[in-house]
């Protein structure tokens, strides 16, 4: 009796340990999430200042009849300055420079884009929400304190007084920051976006998939279905398992030495990045694919052979389709892992300031994780929230990919 109680309480204790372990890891995940979300959510809104914009044709050298091309090529810099002067009358030159700094440096592009969409507004006045500079944005969001001595602030007392006046007039407001999702990197935090990095990662993943998936599938089919098990296959198997555990930076070095050094592919392009990530994902795919080929029962193969199918027909008509859900799941998980890798990209130069959104796998690009790394290194305070927002986006992609993997397995996998 006594010993039964002892055994039962041992079990209870064990369950308590397990619960504690789960709770502790949940706690850490929650802290991480809270930290990322609380700093990153700011990146999804940007501060704007309402201003009266008069599209004076004299300042932009266009008229009602100008073609779209002319509207695009015109310089809006003088107009931008004029907008500031009109909305803040009676400034001396020094005050003007300070007030101009409160608006984003390149709001001439904002004016241009508006006029391209609404060419009929030439010679008319509109109310426009003009993006504030990142330094002002950070003050409004409360990320940069106002109460420190003036010399330690990037926004001085005069600018603060102008800000307070604008706020009391109800002209300062926050809008959803589309730019974060549509623009490439920039050195002005208020106009920096993640889209260039997303495209870079996408191209790399497409290359990675089209390289690693067919090769991985064929290799595993050959090893599993055609070749006779023996010493050679054992050695290959050990090597594949080994490769799956090799640190990713080694694949980066391989890419740098082989693809860039010997073959002469260009530096910092998604083609090379994708191939390197493909090398890295290949063992994962082969292992997953072999496991799912093995789980197809021999009766299927024997049935097909019995009705006169050749070995190849058996494999391609029956075994591979049945094993595909498992293979795909492994592939997606491998690709999700590849998406989060920075080290191999570092070696082949895909960690770089790239402003232009890449148009194909041969354009210089950076990847999502490398963009996050670059922002985290930047001194400007505005990049802090961009870093966290980038992490949120990366996590979202990972969750989507992993969920897809689970769904494919649930839906399509056949239980024998």
């Amino acid at each position: 009796m006594n010993s039964l109680n002892k055994r039962l309480s041992a079990e209870k204790r064990f369950q308590a340990y397990g619960l504690f372990a789960v709770a502790l890891s949940m706690f850490f995940v929650l802290i991480l999430m809270w930290k990322i979300f609380s700093t990153g959510s700011g990146a999804f809104v940007r501060t704007t200042i309402e201003a009266n914009v008069f599209f004076n044709p004299d300042f932009i050298q266009v008229n009602q009849n100008s073609l779209e091309k002319e509207l695009y090529r015109a310089s809006y810099v003088a107009l931008a300055d004029e907008v500031v002067r009109q909305n803040h009358p009676n400034l001396n030159e020094e005050q003007f420079i300070k007030v101009r700094e409160m608006y984003t440096r390149k709001f001439d592009y904002q004016l241009r884009d508006y006029l391209l969409d609404n060419p009929d507004k030439i010679g008319q006045s509109i109310i426009m929400k003009i993006t504030a500079s990142s330094d002002l944005d950070q003050i409004v969001k409360g990320n940069y304190p106002r109460d420190v001595p003036e010399a330690q602030r990037k926004i001085n007392d005069y600018q603060l007084s102008v800000l307070d006046k604008l706020t009391s007039e109800g002209k300062v407001s926050s809008v959803f920051n589309f730019w974060f999702f549509t623009k490439g990197d920039s050195r002005d935090p208020e106009t920096a976006g993640i889209w260039g990095a997303v495209m870079g990662s996408l191209y790399a993943l497409i290359i990675c998939f089209s390289f690693a998936f067919p090769i991985g599938l064929l290799a595993s089919v050959y090893l599993e279905e055609f070749v006779k098990p023996g010493k050679v296959t054992d050695i290959i198997e050990v090597n594949i398992n080994n490769l799956a555990a090799v640190p990713s930076i080694v694949f980066g070095l391989l890419g740098l030495g082989m693809l860039i050094g010997v073959i002469g592919l260009p530096y910092q392009v998604p083609l090379v990045g994708g191939l390197v990530l493909g090398f890295m994902t290949l063992p994962t795919i082969i292992i997953a694919s072999r496991a799912s080929l093995r789980s197809v029962p021999p009766s299927i193969r024997e049935g097909a052979l019995a009705v006169g199918a050749t070995k190849m027909q058996t494999v391609f008509h029956h075994v591979i389709p049945l094993s595909l859900p498992g293979t795909l799941t492994g592939t997606i998980i491998g690709m999700a892992q590849a998406l989060g890798e920075t080290a191999p990209l570092l070696m082949i130069g895909m960690v770089a300031f790239v402003m232009e959104i890449p148009g194909g796998p041969l354009d210089p690009a950076t990847g999502l994780p490398s963009q996050i790394y670059l922002w985290s290194e930047s001194a400007e305070r505005g990049f802090l929230e961009k870093t966290s927002a980038g992490i949120m986006l990366l996590l979202l992609f990972l969750i989507i990919m992993n969920t897809a993997a689970v769904l494919i397995r649930r839906r399509l996998e056949v239980k024998w």
């Binding site: 420190v148 064929l218 260009p266 232009e356 290194e377 001194a379």
Partner: protein
């Protein structure tokens, strides 16, 4: 099936060969992470003026030199940023690979600040004091001993009783090179270490009792760590101090605070020039290289209210600046072969950095 596999292979091969002849109309910059914030801002301005925006790959000064000197041709970078002048070893590598047409652009200055939290008492340090706090072996009463100090006031009683703890950059960092050369070696000499041991071996060895903490190249992390504990010190470029003025303050060195003026005049002891090197053979092949350098040394960039000055670059004295400007305008080639033999036209000009040129 066989057919589709063959098609796939053919496609892959054709992609490879088309990449061989891959031309580039976008400048590729590599190099120093200290130059990165300035180089990228300048790249963006070049992009706004109608060229394609250059890419900048922060590989570090040494890594950048290696890539830059690897050869001529669009598969190699066009410009490298450097937080110290090219070394003779690197010049040799350039010469071996046929990269002999190089333009050296010394475009601005950078100061390395020895900073700590705003919450701490402002400190005025000498380089001898910093060396005594950080070196593995120090001079006490005319003898070289293992560093016995644990608090700053033990070194100089007028300093606060803060514990000695300094966050430092990794050995590959150009910032660390500059700090070791301008602070550690000078402090070491001032304390008479070389007279006792007969050499400067060990001058730049940091103590290994946990008081010197090596951080990565991530300066943002160092800022965070300094805010957490006001007694800690760390060193990094002046631009970081400028952006974190609400959190950090610099210690003054030999009585001089870092500022644009004190750095430009090399009055602040840890001021160093920053460089970019242009590959002259690429000018005319990849558009915008000369324009990039011209923008970088223009008044709009490094004048008193310039866009690079605003983020922490300190302008150079006018004689050096006009020399650089004429170099950029005429594309005066920098003699890489002479540099490989440790010769440089400014070597005997008597500037604080002269000894470092083509070392």
């Amino acid at each position: 099936m066989k057919k589709s596999i063959l098609t796939f292979l053919a496609l892959a091969v054709s992609v490879l060969f088309s990449a061989e002849t891959f031309a580039r109309d976008q400048i590729n910059i590599v190099g120093s992470s200290t130059v990165y914030p300035y180089g990228t801002v300048n790249a963006q301005r070049l992009g706004e003026s109608g060229f394609k925006t250059p890419t900048y790959n922060p590989t570090g000064t040494g890594g950048g030199m290696k890539l830059f000197c690897a050869g001529v041709g669009v598969e190699h970078p066009d410009i490298t940023g450097a937080s110290r002048p090219m070394k003779s070893k690197e010049a040799k590598l350039c010469v071996e690979n046929g990269v002999t047409n190089v333009v050296e652009v010394m475009w601005a200055n950078d100061g390395i600040t020895f900073s700590h939290s705003n919450a701490a008492e402002k400190m005025d340090l000498t380089r001898a004091e910093i060396w005594t706090a950080m070196a593995a072996k120090v001079v006490v009463d005319g003898e070289v001993v293992e560093n016995p100090y644990t608090k700053w006031n033990e070194i100089n009683s007028s300093l606060p009783a803060y514990k000695i703890e300094v966050l430092v950059a990794p050995p590959t960092s150009g910032t660390r090179d500059a700090f070791d050369g301008n602070v550690m070696e000078k402090g070491c000499a001032a304390m008479g270490y070389e007279d006792i041991t007969g050499g400067d071996d060990g001058c730049t060895d940091y103590r290994e009792d946990g008081r010197i903490i090596e951080m990565g190249e991530n300066d943002t992390l160092i800022v965070q760590k300094l805010v957490e504990d006001k007694e800690r010190f760390g060193y990094f470029g002046y631009s970081y101090l400028k952006d974190n003025g609400d959190k950090l303050q610099p210690a003054s060195l030999e009585g001089v605070d870092p500022s644009e003026e004190s750095i430009a005049a090399y009055e602040y002891p840890v001021a160093r020039p920053l460089f970019i090197y242009l590959k002259k053979d690429h000018i005319g092949v990849v558009p915008g290289i000369q324009e990039f350098a011209q923008m970088m040394v223009s008044d709009e960039a490094i004048g008193s209210n310039g866009y690079l000055t605003k983020i922490g670059a300190a302008p150079m004295v006018s004689e050096l600046l006009s020399r650089t400007r004429s170099d950029v305008d005429t594309l005066a080639a920098f003699d890489v072969v002479a540099c490989a033999e440790k010769k440089h036209p400014l070597k005997d000009a008597g500037y604080a950095f002269s000894g470092k040129l083509c070392k």
